[in-house]
Structures are given as structure tokens and as C-alpha cells.
């Protein structure tokens, strides 16, 4: 209970007036000569109890009138639901991750969340501040919104296919509420709480007194099927006219039993192949042959509770066998590998044509490079020639410097970022690679067991390059003498000799576009410009992204949902309570949520009721007071003139 205008409570002192008058009236009575006093004595004697009761009733009525008017003037607030509330800062977390697209009872979870959020916002006043924070994309600046703007933000929220982080958004909410100036704070968490959505650990560091309202975790997850580990051609795009295959794992989550699952392969809008899979089984479907150019398609299965992940898109570029050439020392093993691949039709090993990939090793790498093709650079075996090699790297704009190791050691290949199984290979000699400057983007593809880079890539103004930290000799590493050399070289030529990789991104991952790309089309058909960084980050929705340079398509990219977002197992409620706060309001209905929202200082201002009560009391008081006057005609008629 409280008052919006407490100073006006001073009016309440007026309530004492009837009481004081009642007590002091004898001293302030008007004196009237009245001979018929015996009738008055008689009246008061016979009706003394009634008069006393009437006087007390009048006293209470008058005090009640003054009290009701005073309480109305002071704007009494009663702790009743549905009334006004203290100015409140509300962080409204909408978990619009992929799993919010689950359809239950013919309704998406996200729609339930949005309706609940709207109900909360509808109860907000202009004195409240609301942050609508999405766990998934699109990400927005965390600006406090007025109710109308917050409602628009809620209406605009759709299922995000990108990877989302409920943890991160809760931390943001916690910080925002801590900095809020409103006297009341509330955190509303609308989520399905997938397993892994909240990390284990200590509870959120929320400001004291913050009320936390959270949706109730589902008791069991609906059955969901989705694709994972989709791979075309073992990770290498097919050569023109070559048959290849696509493999995928059909995963399931949830507790409901799942029977055989039909998987269909769709290329260019036509079903090209189909098969059945058991739960958590793998499927392999034939693909091709194709002419040179970009190929896009998807694998699909029948829709289930979460239809967003029932397709898995892929793209690849079919190419002619790339022309490769190699110059320099220690080329024996590499030349052998080229010859094998040439025999398989994967490359053409010749110096008679303009190469698609040039391998430069040792001294050859020190000469001025005149090639426009991508380069695979191998350091010299003799450390004495390393300075000259570094100068050549610097001159070419490659931001790496190689140094001689102070002590000899043996390392193993540990962190592999390429689709070739070279883990565990032994490296006995390597140069220490150190980045130099920040001029161009660079990436470590393979690292050794000590964490140092072993194979790096990047792009200079002349084009892309690959740089290995060891010579390709049997003394330096096991790579040249192992069978894995063939797929390694095949991958290098496929990836860097103009064919590219099978580009498979997860929603939310940045998309590296070719250097000349100017814009792209999203799966929805919307056009987006590509800036100078050539990193496109708005990959929020699954589907094929078309990248253009002017009017020409220069690349395609397939974006799929992150597999972890497809696992719908709900969080343990106990874990939810530990992560958020022990004083958690767990709610499962929009109505209950609406009632619970803005619970701090929620009160109704019953001024209308008070004024009506005052009027009623006034009428009653008038009636009781006038009962002395009564009906003149009736009473006068009681004295007959006869």
C-alpha cells in the first residue's frame, strides 16, 4: 500500500474535525429559549439509546467521508493485481533460436513467446524501460524502448537459424538491469532451454530485488530429425564429368520413437535420388556427373516438429582438372603425387599451360614471382637461405616470417582445419612461423602439438597463398612418405587451384567472399552489398547465398542450421533455478505471466471507489441526519386539531 501524493494525507487531519466537534459541541452550542423542554426531555429519555447510536453512526459516517476523500486525494495505492506499478526496468529475453520454431499444438513456440512478451509490454507504462533482447539473430543495439517500440521489436522477431547464446544474452540483461535507474527491475526469460543453452556455473549476478520470471522448461522434447556431417565428394568438389557422392548423417533428438526416415536429394529443384535411413544412421547418395560450373541442392526429409532443420543445403563448383606446376628443391615426392593425380584425372601436371597452382620451394621461392596463380610455398632445407626466403615473402606481401628453431625437437600434427586426415603426422624439422603486421587476412590451417602454426594461408594483392613451415622432405616430416600426401595434394589443388571447396557454413558464421565480389543475394532473395572486408556476417537464415561481382555469379555458399540447435532436450528445471536465481517465478501461461509481470509495487489506485464510497456515505449521512426532520406532513398529522 502506498500513496502517490502522500502530502495530501494531511487532509486526513480533517477526519478529526467531526470527532472534536462531537466532543466539544457542548461548549459551542447555540443557546435558544425554548419552553417546551419537557418534550425534549421526553424525546431524549425515550430514545436516548437510539439517539446515541445515531450520533455515533453520524460520527463514523463523517469520519469515513473525510477519510475516503483524503485517501482519494492522496492517491491511495492498494496492492492489487492489474493496477499501476512502480517504474520498472524490464529485460525481456526472447530466445528466438532455431528450436523456438518447434511446432506444438499447431503453434510455434516463438509465437507463444511473442504473445507472452506482448502481454507484458501491454502492461508497461511510459515510466517503464524495456529491453527486448534476442538470443538469436538479428542482433540489435541494447537500447531501452518505450512500450510501443518494444512491441514492434517483438513483432519483428522471427526464428533465427543462427547459433544463439542464451548465456550471453542473459549476461547482457544482467548488466543492463544493474545500470538501470528504475526502482524496480525484472528479468523475463522466454526460452525453451535446450540442453546446453545455459552453461553450468554460478547464478546470474543480478541487482538485488530483481524479479526473475522464466518460462517453464518442457517436460520432454518432441522428436526431431536433422542432418549433420553432410559432405560432398569427401570434401573435394568433383571434376567435370566425374561422378561423386554426398554423404550425411541423419540424427534424431527427443524421446519419441522414430521409424525409418526417407531422405531425398534435390539438385536444381529436382529429386535426383532417395533412400531410407534409420535414426542416427548415415546415408550416401550418388551425385553427378556435372558440367563445369556451380551446383547447388539440398538433402531433405519429411517435416517434423522443427521443420527448419529438415533440409541441408550444399553447393560446390565443378571444374576442369587444374594445371599444376612445381619449381625448386625437394620436389620428388610432390612430383610423384602430381603424377598420380594426373593419372586419375584430378590435375594436369604440365608446364606447357598457364598453371592454376604453382608450387615454389627453397631457392625457387626466392626469385621474383611472376605467376598470377595461387602459390604453395615451401621453405628451403638449408637454414642459411632462410633470410632470402623471408625477404621474398616480405616482398610478396605475405605477412609471415620464418625463423630457425633454437633446439631440435619432434612435434606432431595436432590441430587440423582441413578435411584431410593428417593428424598425428610426425614433424621433425620446422621453421618457427611468426606473423608480421596486420596487412592482410591470414589463417592457420594446421597447427602442431605445441600450438605453433604449420600450414597457413592468406591472400595478398597478387592472390591466395599457402605456406608450409617445413620443407617437403622425408627428413623434415612424415608427410611426403605417407599415403595421405595424395589426398593432401588433391585437396590443396582442388581448394586453391580455382575450384574452391564445398562451401558449407552454419547460420551465423561469417562468409568469406571472393575479392572481387560486390554483392550477394540472400535465400529470401534480398540483396546485400559486400564491403571491403569481404566478410559477410548476415548469414542468419539457411539456404543458398548467391555472391556476385557485377552481374556475374562468382560463388555460391550454402548455409545450414547449426546441428546443436536441433537437439531439443530440455534443461533440468533445477539447473535453470541454479543458473538464474533461486527466487524464480516459473510460468507456463501468458495469462499467468501477465499477472506476475510488474509485480514490484503493483497496486491499484481506487480513487473512483473511494469517491463513490464518500458520496454514498454522504448520502447515508444526509439521510441519517435528516431523519430528525423526517416527514413533516406525517408527523404534523399526528397532532389532531380536534
Amino acid at each position: 500500500m502506498g500513496f502517490l501524493s502522500p502530502l495530501l494525507l494531511l487532509l486526513g487531519a480533517a477526519a478529526a474535525i467531526p470527532l472534536v466537534l462531537h466532543l466539544l459541541k457542548r461548549d459551542r452550542d447555540r443557546r435558544v429559549v425554548f419552553p417546551a423542554l419537557r418534550y425534549l426531555h421526553r424525546a431524549t429519555r425515550e430514545h436516548a439509546r437510539q439517539i446515541r447510536a445515531q450520533q455515533l453512526l453520524l460520527l463514523f459516517l463523517r469520519i469515513g467521508i473525510v477519510a475516503a476523500v483524503t485517501l482519494a486525494a492522496a492517491r491511495l495505492l492498494l496492492p492489487l493485481p492489474g493496477g499501476v506499478h512502480e517504474p520498472t526496468a524490464v529485460a525481456l529475453v526472447l530466445d528466438n533460436s532455431l528450436s523456438s520454431g518447434v511446432i506444438e499444438d499447431d503453434r510455434r513456440r516463438l509465437d507463444w513467446m511473442k504473445e507472452t512478451a506482448r502481454r507484458v509490454v501491454d502492461r508497461a507504462t511510459e515510466d517503464d524501460l524495456i529491453w527486448v533482447l534476442r538470443a538469436g539473430e538479428p542482433w540489435d543495439l541494447a537500447l531501452p524502448l518505450q512500450p510501443a517500440a518494444a512491441r514492434i521489436r517483438i513483432d519483428e522477431t522471427e526464428v533465427s537459424h543462427a547459433r544463439s547464446s542464451l548465456d550471453e544474452v542473459l549476461l547482457r540483461a544482467s548488466r543492463l538491469l544493474t545500470d538501470a535507474s528504475q526502482p524496480a527491475r525484472e528479468l523475463h526469460v522466454l526460452s525453451d532451454y535446450q540442453t546446453g543453452a545455459l552453461s553450468e556455473g554460478t547464478a546470474l549476478d543480478l541487482p538485488p530485488g530483481t524479479r526473475v520470471l522464466a518460462s517453464e522448461p518442457a517436460e520432454h522434447a518432441p522428436e526431431n530429425r536433422f542432418f549433420s556431417d553432410v559432405l560432398v565428394g569427401g570434401g573435394l568438389p568433383p571434376i567435370a564429368g566425374e561422378r561423386t557422392q554426398i554423404t550425411a548423417r541423419v540424427a534424431t533428438s527427443g524421446t519419441d520413437p522414430v521409424g525409418a526416415i526417407e531422405v531425398r536429394l534435390v539438385v536444381d529443384g529436382e529429386v535426383r535420388a532417395a533412400t531410407e535411413s534409420e535414426s542416427d544412421g548415415s546415408v550416401t547418395l550418388p551425385l553427378g556427373p556435372f558440367q563445369t560450373g556451380w551446383v547447388s541442392g539440398h538433402l531433405e526429409m519429411d517435416p517434423d516438429a522443427l521443420p527448419e532443420d529438415d533440409r541441408s543445403f550444399f553447393v560446390f563448383r565443378v571444374r576442369e582438372p587444374p594445371v599444376v606446376t612445381a619449381e625448386g628443391e625437394d620436389m620428388y615426392f610432390l612430383e610423384q603425387a602430381f603424377d598420380v593425380l594426373d593419372g586419375a584425372g584430378r590435375v594436369r601436371h604440365t608446364s606447357a599451360e598457364e598453371p592454376n597452382l604453382v608450387v615454389l620451394a627453397g631457392a625457387a621461392a626466392q626469385e621474383e614471382w611472376t605467376h598470377e596463380a595461387p602459390l604453395l610455398l615451401l621453405p628451403p632445407s638449408d637454414p642459411a637461405r632462410l633470410p632470402a626466403f623471408n625477404r621474398a615473402l616480405s616482398a610478396a606481401g605475405i605477412p609471415w616470417t620464418l625463423g630457425v628453431e633454437a633446439s631440435e625437437s619432434v612435434w606432431s600434427v595436432a590441430d587440423v582445419g582441413i578435411p584431410v586426415a593428417i593428424e598425428g603426422l610426425e614433424v621433425r624439422r620446422r621453421y618457427r612461423m611468426e606473423p608480421r603486421g596486420e596487412a592482410h587476412p591470414r589463417e592457420t590451417l594446421v597447427a602442431l602439438s605445441d600450438g605453433s602454426p604449420w600450414l597457413v594461408t592468406g591472400e595478398t594483392e597478387a592472390g591466395p597463398y599457402l605456406l608450409l613451415a617445413s620443407p617437403l622432405s622425408e627428413e623434415a616430416s612424415d608427410l611426403p612418405v605417407r599415403a595421405v600426401l595424395i589426398p593432401f595434394v588433391d585437396w590443396v589443388t582442388a581448394r586453391w587451384a580455382g575450384g574452391g571447396t564445398v562451401s558449407m557454413l552454419h547460420a551465423g558464421d561469417p562468409l568469406a567472399t571472393p575479392s572481387g565480389a560486390t554483392h550477394l543475394y540472400l535465400p529470401s532473395g534480398a540483396e546485400r552489398a559486400i564491403d571491403d572486408t569481404h566478410r559477410f556476417v548476415e548469414t542468419a537464415h539457411v539456404g543458398i547465398h548467391t555472391i556476385l561481382e557485377g552481374d556475374s555469379i562468382v560463388a555460391l555458399a550454402a548455409v545450414n542450421a547449426p546441428p546443436e540447435e536441433s537437439r531439443l532436450s530440455p534443461l533440468d528445471p533445477q539447473q535453470l533455478s541454479e543458473r538464474l536465481t533461486p527466487d524464480l517465478y516459473v510460468l507456463d501461461e501468458p495469462d499467468a505471466w501477465e499477472r506476475a509481470a510488474f509485480g514490484t509495487g503493483t497496486a491499484s489506485e481506487p480513487w473512483k471507489v473511494l469517491l463513490v464510497a464518500a458520496l454514498l456515505l454522504l448520502l447515508i449521512e444526509g439521510r441519517v441526519a435528516a431523519s430528525g426532520a423526517g416527514d413533516r406532513t406525517r408527523d404534523a398529522g399526528g397532532i389532531s386539531a380536534d
Binding site: V32, V33, A36, L37, A625, G630, R632, D642
Partner: protein, 311 residues
């Protein structure tokens, strides 16, 4: 239901009996007022549908079975086609006592200047009654009292008696407490043969001794009329909130919140009136409430009705 206390019309300036008391007081002295009231009253009777009534009133009475046929007035029969029997002076001569309350409570008006005091009203009504009675040939006496008998005029007839009565009434002053039983017993002692006793009082006195005295009078065979004078301000409490009421007669005071007790007060007045009526009428005592805002004619009519029954 018509209001018995509504003021009578004052449109007829020739009928002083119909004037409201406030207007009547402006006409002149008591003798003039009494004479004009009575004359107006009798004039009204002549003009009433019951022709010959005034004659009956003065000299004749309507024939009743058992009356001696020798005394039928054949001249009146010829004029009115009704039988009247002549009355003899000896038969109609009546001894009447007017008992006038002079207590302090009578000297009060709820609206001074507009409404006369009960004392004024009572004395002028007594004067009018005396005038009527003497004009009729009756003997009229007067006892004016408060807690004691202040004035006593023995019953006699004739104009001289009327003048004495008017002088006494004019000189009588109100004051003191009230004890009517003494005056009533005095009247009972002095009326040796059956007579008429008219008590004019506000009855703000000890009720039981007064009732016993009235019953005694009645027991002695006298006809008794009690005219209970009520100021309109006594029937209803004045407006206002918290008021301290002071009784000039007893000196008592009482503070009340008027709205709180207004209804109960009115009930108390009604009950008191009902008690008086209930205590007197079964004994054959005529009792009437006269509001001091009413014209004197209404009080005279009440007397007349009683006088008719007396024959």
C-alpha cells in the same frame, strides 16, 4: 390529508375571526379585537348554509322529540319550515369559568413580531369567549394562574362584567411556573351548580395532578373544555445543528443536536398530545389542540360545538 395547522385565509378583511393572529394583533386593543372577532364569527354563522343557526344559538334550539310542543316557535316554522323551540333565559343561563394559564412558558413565541405569544393568544381567545358568552346571556368568570392564582373574577353576566374581564385580561402578566390543579380546584369550589370550565393552557405542567383536577371537575358534573395551545415552534424543533435549549419557566437547559433528535422530538409531542387526548376524552372532557398561528375562529367554533351540546 389537509394540514390542520395551515393558516386560514386572510382575504376577508371584514371577518376578524378569520384573521391570522399576527394580523389580528394590529387591529387594536383587546376589547376591539374581541368584539370584532365575535361579530365576524357570528356573521359567518348567519351566512352559513344552516340558516337560523345564530337564532338557535341565542334564543331557540331545534325541536327534539320530548320537547314541549307548547313552546314551538310557529313564526320561525313559517319562515324556515323547521321546528324551533323557544328557550327561556333561566334555562339557557350558564355559569362559565375561563381558566387562563399565565405561566412563564406562555410568554413565548417562536417567531416574535410575526406570531403572538401563547399568552397573547390565550388572553385574546379568552376575551372573545367571554364576549360570546356574555352576549349569549351567560355568566362568565375568570381565573388566571401560574403556580398560584393571580387573578380571580367571579362569574357574572352583563356588559360590566365583560369590561371587568377585559381589564383583568389586559393587566394579566405572564411569569412563574405552572400549577393548574389549584386553579381547577378553585373553579370547582366556586361553581356550585353545573357549569362550563374552559382551560386555556400550553399544558407544560405536571400532567397527572392537572388531569386529576380536570376529572374532578367533570365528576362534579361540569362541562370541561381544554384548549391546548401550541406554538408552531413547539411542534417542531427549530433548524440548526447543535443547540442548547433553555426553558425560561424552569431555568433548565439541554444541549442536543437538532437533526439527531428532530424525529424523536416530534414523536414526543405527538405522544404527549395523544396522552392528553386519551386521558380526557373518555371522561367526557373536550380536548383540542389550538395552534397559535390559527385564527381565533377555530377555537371559537370548538367552544360553540360544546355549547350546543350543553343546550
Amino acid at each position: 390529508m389537509s394540514d390542520p395547522y395551515a393558516r386560514a385565509p386572510t382575504a376577508n378583511p371584514g371577518r376578524a375571526d378569520l384573521l391570522d393572529p399576527g394580523s389580528l394583533a394590529k387591529l387594536g386593543d383587546m376589547e376591539l379585537i374581541a368584539r370584532r372577532v365575535v361579530e365576524g364569527f357570528l356573521l359567518g354563522l348567519h351566512r352559513s348554509p344552516h340558516r337560523g343557526f345564530s337564532a338557535e344559538f341565542a334564543e331557540l334550539h331545534a325541536y327534539r322529540p320530548g320537547d314541549d310542543l307548547r313552546y314551538i316557535d310557529w313564526r320561525m316554522f313559517g319562515r324556515s319550515n323547521r321546528y324551533y323551540v323557544k328557550r327561556f333565559q333561566e334555562e339557557t343561563n350558564l355559569r362559565a369559568y375561563l381558566l387562563l394559564d399565565l405561566s412563564g412558558s406562555m410568554d413565548w413565541s417562536s417567531n416574535p413580531g410575526e406570531l403572538p405569544t401563547k399568552s397573547w393568544y390565550a388572553s385574546h381567545l379568552a376575551a372573545a369567549l367571554a364576549h360570546t358568552l356574555i352576549r349569549q346571556g351567560d355568566q362568565v368568570g375568570l381565573v388566571a394562574f401560574d403556580e398560584e392564582i393571580r387573578h380571580h373574577v367571579r362569574p357574572r353576566g352583563g356588559p360590566r362584567q365583560l369590561r371587568e374581564l377585559l381589564l383583568t385580561l389586559t393587566s394579566a402578566e405572564s411569569g412563574g411556573r405552572t400549577a393548574a390543579e389549584g386553579a381547577l380546584r378553585e373553579a370547582a369550589l366556586r361553581l356550585r351548580r353545573r357549569g362550563l370550565v374552559i382551560l386555556l393552557s400550553d399544558l407544560l405542567l405536571e400532567a397527572e395532578p392537572t388531569r386529576q383536577a380536570l376529572h374532578f371537575l367533570r365528576h362534579r358534573g361540569h362541562e370541561v373544555i381544554v384548549l391546548h395551545l401550541l406554538d408552531p415552534g413547539e411542534r417542531d424543533l427549530p433548524s440548526g445543528g447543535d443547540v442548547r435549549f433553555f426553558d425560561p419557566e424552569t431555568g433548565d437547559e439541554m444541549g442536543v443536536n437538532v437533526p439527531d433528535v428532530r424525529s424523536e422530538y416530534r414523536s414526543a409531542v405527538n405522544e404527549a398530545v395523544a396522552e392528553w387526548r386519551g386521558a380526557l376524552r373518555p371522561h367526557g372532557i373536550e380536548y383540542g389542540v389550538i395552534g397559535t398561528e390559527q385564527p381565533l375562529a377555530s377555537a371559537l367554533r370548538r367552544y360553540l360545538q360544546k355549547r350546543q351540546r350543553l343546550g
